[in-house]
């Protein structure tokens, strides 16, 4: 059944209908991302959680590329998978043994957390379905990186400078907080 559906998708692709191919790619990415995210918040092993986070972040990069935002997708891979996950792995390494892997990794309020998560999903999902009934994403061509650069350095120059100051503050703050006196 699935093979037939995939074959039909392939046929449509060959006949020039890329929408079906996009939807198949989206479906695969979405399923992989949600399964990996669920495993990330339920696994007892912290290192495994970091590796599941890598899968989710790579899936988000795939979604960005599917949406035609190539530059954001590449930045996602460079900054998130390249830097932030490595930072997480260092943090796990430096705090190793703080919580054993067999020990219960979740609080006793897990049921309440499940309830809150489901409520968030129902409310936001309902609002989204109510607001954007059948708006379609029909991007003719991927967005141009040159246009992104032009817009950042003209219209968004003040937020850009603010982000650079923020990064400097975070750098100094992290050193001040974490250094040994």
């Amino acid at each position: 059944m699935i093979a037939m559906a995939a074959l039909q998708g392939f046929d449509s692709l060959m006949s020039g209908d890329t929408v079906v191919a996009q939807n198949i790619a989206f479906g695969i990415l979405a399923v992989v991302m949600i399964v990996a995210a669920l495993r990330m918040v339920t696994t007892g092993n912290v290192v495994h959680a970091a590796l599941y986070l890598v899968i989710v972040l790579a899936g988000v990069a795939g979604i960005f590329i599917l949406l035609g935002a190539e530059f954001v997708g590449v930045t996602q891979v460079l900054v998130y998978i390249g830097a932030i996950v490595v930072l997480f792995l260092f943090g796990i390494m430096l705090t190793r043994g703080a919580l054993g892997e067999d020990e219960e990794a979740d609080t006793e309020k897990r049921r309440m957390a499940v309830l809150v998560g489901v409520l968030v999903l129902v409310v936001t999902g309902g609002a989204v379905l109510d607001s954007f009934g059948d708006a379609a994403v029909n991007r003719a061509a991927p967005s141009l990186t040159a246009e992104i650069g032009d817009t950042i350095f003209s219209q968004y120059i003040v937020p850009f400078e603010a982000v650079s100051v923020l990064l400097l503050a975070a750098l100094i703050g992290a050193i001040v907080v974490a250094r040994k006196d």
């Binding site: 979405a30 991302m33 949600i34 995210a37 990330m40 918040v41 912290v46 970091a50 986070l53 989710v56 972040l57 979604i63 960005f64 599917l66 949406l67 935002a69 954001v72 930045t75 996602q76 900054v79 998130y80 830097a83 932030i84 930072l87 997480f88 430096l94 705090t95 703080a98 919580l99 219960e104 990794a105 609080t107 897990r110 957390a113 998560g117 968030v120 999903l121 936001t124 999902g125 989204v128 379905l129 954007f132 009934g133 059948d134 708006a135 994403v137 991007r139 967005s143 246009e147 992104i148 817009t151 950042i152 968004y156 982000v163 923020l166 990064l167 975070a170 992290a174 907080v177 974490a178």
Partner: protein, 99 residues
Amino acid sequence: MLLNQFLLLAAALFAIGVYGVLARRNGVLVLMSIELILNSVNINLVAFSAVSATVGGEIFALFIIAVAAAEVGVGLAMVLLLYRNRRSIDLTEIDQLRG
């Protein structure tokens, strides 16, 4: 592709991230769940940017990526400080401010 499918995927990731923040007791795992939430917001921004055929949403996604990097740096420094002072990163034990 419908706009809704991206927004619903982002809503699902957001809800999973909220669950992770509330249910986890390890400080590093809570920070990871916050990353999940920020990524779901980025999906929304880029999807709206694709619908409106402007680059504004993509630029805000880039800003959020930069802010997330800063947040993880400071957050992990705080977790390391916590570990050094208390030999534990169990957030349920950090309750001195409780009345």
